[in-house]
Amino acid sequence: MSAPDDQSERSDVELVQASQKGDLQSFEILVARHRDKIYARAYSMMRNEDEALDLSQDAWIKGWQRLAQFQGDSSFVTWMTRIVINLCLDQIRKHKRQRLDSIDALDETAGGVERLLPAVEINPTEGMERTELRRRIDGALAKLSEEHRTALVLHEFEELEYKEIARRMNCSIGTVMSRLFYARRRMAGLLAGLKRESAE
């Protein structure tokens, strides 16, 4: 769990307690220890290095401001992940408001082109390194719209139920199901292409 540049042997619990008393140095160790994970989650959702960087830093600032509210019900990094996800969701809402084109909304109501495609068999793990597979999956995720990717990230990476995703994304459960379905079918199509590629 410890980052290579983190020399502290103190546990997260100890560091959080010291931070809650106003010890900024302890908080800095927590940041150094978990910053990659928080940044990775922001990047998974935003697919933009600058935005992910800014949002992850904003999450740490918010985390410091709300430290008194952290009761230890979950791990500190889980709590921080929740904060960064909420910031990313706010940012995605801003993006949506700024977008003039509503192709995504159209896809959602119509079920998307992928809905009509026949189901494919995918097994790209054959003959592929785990790291390479992750890279390919990451590339496929990048091709999804923000809303569909977010639903998938919250369901598969954050392991949230439909109801909780709907609450976080401020939409109905039906919309969550539709977004997940569309996203998975698209992912299946993209990863099936990989299988054909590796077979050639």
Binding site: D36, Y39, A119, M177, S178, L180, R184, A188
Partner: protein, 170 residues
Amino acid sequence: MNQELELKLQAWVDGELSEAEARRMQNLIATDPAADALAAELRDVKALLSGAEMARTVPEGREFYWSKIERQIQAERSVASAPAPNWLAGWRRLLMPLAGLAAAACVVLVTVKQSVPSPNFDVVASTDASMETMMYHDQSAGLTVVWLQDKNAGNGAEAVTADDNSPMTD
């Protein structure tokens, strides 16, 4: 297969259905090859994504990344620790607009008082003992009626009317 059924199939893959509905989906998969293929695809994608989030490293050094966070925290700390304004300054801030309001009200009051014309009545006097007077004043209409009657003259009565803003005649 309609969209509702597809979404139910997905909910079954995600373990979001009740037992009764899950049984219905299992029956559907057993009898419908298209539903079976779709369920398999959804399961594959789910399995592939599970724990497959790409690990990433912050593209900035520890010190540089922390400096922005620290700067913001310190800025908020300095705002929070700024000395609170003393009570006199607080009261002054509160009373200043009230004092201004009071002064303005005084000016308006004086101006209005000066601009309203005072009733201008001529003095009605009679030294004749045979003269009898009756007076009626209507406050709402601003009207005063003075009835003068010479008891010796019989019907030689004369009514004089005046509104409050005009000189009274006798």
